[in-house]
Symmetry: C2
Subunit: 189 residues, 2 copies
């Protein structure tokens, strides 16, 4: 998605340690028009899939996911990043975050994810893919089917995307970054 890449080059900052700061338009401040264009791009690339539900994860996945829900006219469920107060009717899984070097719990209600659901998982970033692994597990627990995964930005120099594709998942990334070395942003051709 050319406009997204231009925005990343214009407003993103490559920091040491493979960190890409995009908090002026994607994960702290949000540009709603860009979110809508991101949603329209996802919608085009997901058009041939029998998707009936969008699953995302709080907090930065919610904005692109709800816009995609609006464009595709589908409900959105956001997975919570903490242990539920009661386990009643909740599917739960622990996830390790490399970025934050800690374990967190993801959870979703069985009321909103069932064996009848054909899911696209939407998130802002794909890096090592650990959040995606958590979602795969929650979908397996619920009996739902993952039709595709859509990421606004994929860090191609980390191995989450390659591993998911090798396992047969349809991974749609709107911008793939191959290197942040020397604080320079290089996209995959």
């Amino acid at each position: 998605m050319e406009k997204l890449k231009q925005r990343i080059l214009q407003d993103g900052r490559a920091l040491d340690g493979g960190i890409l700061k995009v908090d002026s338009f994607l994960n702290h401040q949000l540009d709603p028009n860009l979110m809508m264009e991101i949603a329209r791009n996802f919608a085009v690339r997901l058009a041939d899939k029998p998707i009936n539900k969008i699953v995302t994860i709080e907090a930065s996945g919610i904005a692109p996911a709800v816009m995609l829900g609006y464009v595709m006219q589908l409900p959105v469920v956001f997975v919570k990043k903490k242990a539920p107060l009661t386990m009643e009717n909740m599917l739960v899984r622990e996830v390790f975050s490399f970025t934050k070097n800690r374990v967190y719990t993801v959870s979703i209600s069985q009321d909103f994810l069932t064996e009848n659901d054909h899911v696209v998982f939407i998130d802002d970033f794909l890096a090592n893919g650990n959040a995606a692994r958590g979602i795969i597990d929650l979908c397996a627990q619920s009996g739902s089917t993952i039709e595709a995964m859509g990421f606004v930005i994929e860090k191609g120099f980390q191995k989450g995307g390659d591993a998911l594709r090798a396992e047969g998942y349809d991974v749609v990334s709107l911008a793939i970054i191959d290197s942040l070395e020397n604080n320079e942003i290089k996209f995959r051709e």
Copy 2:
């Protein structure tokens, strides 16, 4: 907002202890069309305010806020509900949650909230108003001006809304609930 009230009556559940469960359309699963209608209602009621920025708080405020940003063509910033890893350039405030009976930290970057900003704060629920108090403090720290606060649902039987109005804040609530007694949802006329 009549459609919202109908939806609350249809899909909401009044639980003991003044709890209103609306997780099928507002704070776990999201109905994007309802989010857009909520945004359009807020936009009409905020039309006479010189607002240049929408501030919300993760996670359930993000969906209505980004839709409002799209309708009003304004940037959205979501306040984070945890202490920042570095304090560099972050405004921080502790907030007590009655619902969860614990203290949490809210934070926002000074890059995205400055003395030039005229803010509407958007959130899913107004109850005791403690999250709103946190936002008021962050805005005061930044020197920005709060023009209005918009809530999808206000629990009128708790005292946050009355107190904020008494202090002169322009509080816009799309549905005000006066009672959940006997597990029955009663709206304010």
